[in-house]
């Protein structure tokens, strides 16, 4: 029997045959997951079909596996799956879909910021967290936020533009909503 404690709220989990049963919400859907003690959040998410979370290095160096945990960007390859217990996880699939894309997803397309696209889910999620906190970031703030997400295809030029474009889209959307 292994026990895992979460620091903020003491929650103890018990394992059966090395498998923990955890409760977590992924992209708004609350559910129960069975995860191994050593499974990373990245492996668990991908094993459960959330393939938008990418494995670029598995050592916390590239940012491709970024997800939002309670709204904060985290590297899923460095987090144990059990640590997701009681948390809300957002992957790129939770932001929008091709039928109903999030303004950030639209902006990355329109700015030409997507080349191979492997790093893009992580970049968009990091940008989401940035814009949630800071709706009008400067170029330096955008570059700082994106700095942990490596891209080898681009010069980051169009991704910085995309985040700016998305900031404008989100603002306009809010203005429109306020006017309705």
């Amino acid at each position: 029997m292994t026990a895992v404690r979460k620091t903020a709220k003491a929650i103890s989990l018990t394992a059966e045959n090395g498998i923990f049963s955890i409760e977590a919400a992924v992209n708004g859907v609350r559910g129960s997951w069975r995860v191994g003690a050593e499974d990373t959040l990245l492996s668990a998410l991908r094993a459960n079909g959330w393939k938008g979370v990418k494995r670029g290095c598995d050592t916390g160096e590239c940012g491709s596996c970024t997800v939002l945990v309670d709204g904060t960007p985290e590297l899923a390859c460095l987090k144990l799956a059990v640590s997701a217990h009681g948390r809300e996880i957002t992957t790129i699939e939770g932001l929008g879909s091709p039928a109903e894309p999030h303004p950030l997803q639209e902006a990355f397309v329109e700015a030409g910021a997507v080349q191979c696209g492997f790093c893009i889910p992580g970049m968009i999620l990091v940008s989401k967290a940035l814009l949630d906190k800071n709706p009008e970031p400067s170029e330096t703030q955008i570059r700082h936020a994106l700095d942990g997400n490596l891209c080898r295809c681009t010069g980051y030029v169009k991704q910085v533009e995309a985040v700016r474009l998305a900031a404008g889209k989100i603002k306009n959307r809010e203005v429109r909503r306020a006017g309705q």
């Binding site: 959330w50 393939k51 938008g52 979370v53 990418k54 494995r55 670029g56 290095c57 598995d58 050592t59 160096e61 590239c62 491709s64 992957t91 790129i92 699939e93 932001l95 929008g96 879909s97 091709p98 894309p101 950030l104 997803q105 990355f108 397309v109 329109e110 030409g112 997507v114 080349q115 191979c116 696209g117 492997f118 790093c119 893009i120 889910p121 968009i124 955008i142 570059r143 700082h144 994106l146 700095d147 942990g148 997400n149 490596l150 891209c151 080898r152 295809c153 681009t154 010069g155 980051y156 030029v157 169009k158 991704q159 910085v160």
Partner: protein, 771 residues
Amino acid sequence: MPDNKTAFKVVNQRVNKLDSLGLACGTAEFADDWNPPRMLIGRLLYSPHAHARIKKIDTSAAERVPGVAAVLTYKNTPRIRHTTAGQGFPEPSPYDSLIFDDKMRFAGDRVAAVAAETAEAAQEALSKIKVDYEVLPAVFDILDAAKDGAPVIHDEDDAKNIPDAKHNICAAYALDIKDHEWYSTADAVIEQTYKTQYAQHCALEPHTVIAYFDADGRIVLRSSTQVPFHVRRIVAQSLGIEVRRIRVIKPRIGGGFGSKQEVFLDQACAALLLAAKRPVKMELSRKEVFVSSRTRHPAVIRLKTGVKKDGKITDLDLAITLGNGAYGAHALTVMMCSGSHTMPLYQAQNNKFTGRTVYTNLPVAGAYRGYGATQGFFALESQMDMMAEAIGMDPVEFRLKNYIKQGQGSPIFKAMGEGREGVEQVMQSCGLERCIEEGLKASGWREKRELYKKQAGAKRRGIGCACLMQGSGIPEVDMASATIKMNEDGSFNLLIGAADLGTGSDTVLAQIAAEVLGVRHCDILVYSSDTDLTPFDVGAYASSTTFISGNAVRKTAENVKTMILSVAAKILNEKPENLRLEGGRVVAASGISCPLSEVANTSLYYHDQHQIIASASHTATTSPPPFSAHCAEVEVDTETGAVAVLNYVAAVECGTAINPALAEGQNDGAVLNGLSFALTEELEFNAAGAAKNAGFRGYKIFGAYDTPPIKTILLSTYEPAGPFGAKSVSEIGINGPQPALANAIYNAVGVRLTEPPFTPDKVLAAIRAKR
């Protein structure tokens, strides 16, 4: 057909990349994003020794690990020498590789493979393979490797096409085109040796392949490859089976830059499938990507040049030795491109090229964006500045005096191809002078050159430039083809073997088809690539896709257009020659029209029933170079040696940019890769030949925050041989940063750096040596 850009409707437009929404939403599938049921995990065991022979290997304990389905070594896999270089057949690279060998040639060479139920079981099995090695003397330095008495790395008797295995020489080539006695007319002769480093491609998606059987027992390889058709052929060859037994599917690819032009994982994965009789996935770790996939060839380049006081280059003699590491992938062609893609840029009177590529006991080099031109241009463009200084001429004026102009050719083109004789070509388009003008203007070159003449203090600024060219495909070698078929609603399926690896080629090729067919680019449904479903294409390399595959698509679309007009002529009761395609309709000169959907439905259901479908192929007789001028502004801290790039401008002309946004993205990315190759990137090895920094923590590529301002300026020319005037754009940009920064650093602090990366310790040492 429009032949100038003002008439284009879809081409030369910044339309959205077709696959970008799916990629931004996480729904686009890369190789590992779809897994067959009951899939096993394949893992590799690597040699800890740089050079060793396996005396004994015992896999019995590994085979007994629960969950292990197959263990492969040299003992139970076919021993068929092949090259892993994904090139056209017959490949110009030596046949020196086996799926598994009993000789290890670098620390990271593969010993064995395991397929097991879980990664943990596979890992445990690897740890239980007992290997008894006879450790052999190793050689790491590329110049030492070719000396008498050096350890012979390829002493096997079944390798083919190694020119001098005893001296570890895996490729050699020499050329001497003399107009007059060497250096007899030169006013100044400059000789300098340059040394470029080991580097890795660092595509964010690691190499991945999933092998499974289809319902009929054929091998399906879902592979992160740039060269699906070459994968099919080389896997068949290395396993000794027929091509027809293999199907290769290329899903979305997470970048390649040449590293996925190599076929080294697919045959191992197919062999595991055959042994385990269950689907197998092999996905490299980041460390494996660094050590055991492919790298850029390190090089030692000696350049000796003569120049007259009036600025004429009299003599150009480039001698290069490249290191290929343990196997000779792309040995001959990368070496030849270091001359053939650089020396024609300037009209020298005497031209000499001496190249050799050598084996060492280090990781394997292969294709890497720039493909030899990167190494060659570092030397050539550094030396251009030295020559200009020697005759007291402005470096830009000196380049303008010598560069190849429209209407001019070079004897190099005819003499040197890729691994064989080249083709004669005369420049039909060259916008280099405009690139230089725009680059100078945007970077404030002239003012800054003046301003930086008088500086004081610890931090000194400088500005430097470099001019560049590349090719567009391999003439008379590369072949591409396309199929287009029409659907009821006036949409079209475009089936292409061309491999979009993140470059945007699916979109570019759709734009070309759409331009001919008078529809929007989103009316073209692109499928790339699947060796069962799409026609042949050599794949994504040599800057060939827009130029060669693009021409195949243009021809195919024209054939489809002819078929459409023939059906529409009957519907509209007009002659085909009076009809045109526009806005999704067939429009007659008289003004009457019908929608494409009516044409499609007529042909499919009503009258003279047939599928409107066509295929066409293209090979090129020339390889028109794109041209580019780069300007770099730096600040050098003379107390620490740190170099900060303040501004980087890259003006590039690629004929007609089929999609300017994608062309800019290609150039931005190539420049950034070049910048870190100039400043930080180097794969380093310890005294035993093991990689020291095989990860992003130790091997620095730039993030968004430390990336300097990069400005790409696209300039149009019109290349008559290209589809709608297009040339290539994907590689050229990587060749500029090393020489442009070296020249800028020289301008700032007066020291000439010849061994990138220009790290603070090297810069500081050079500054101190000068004092």
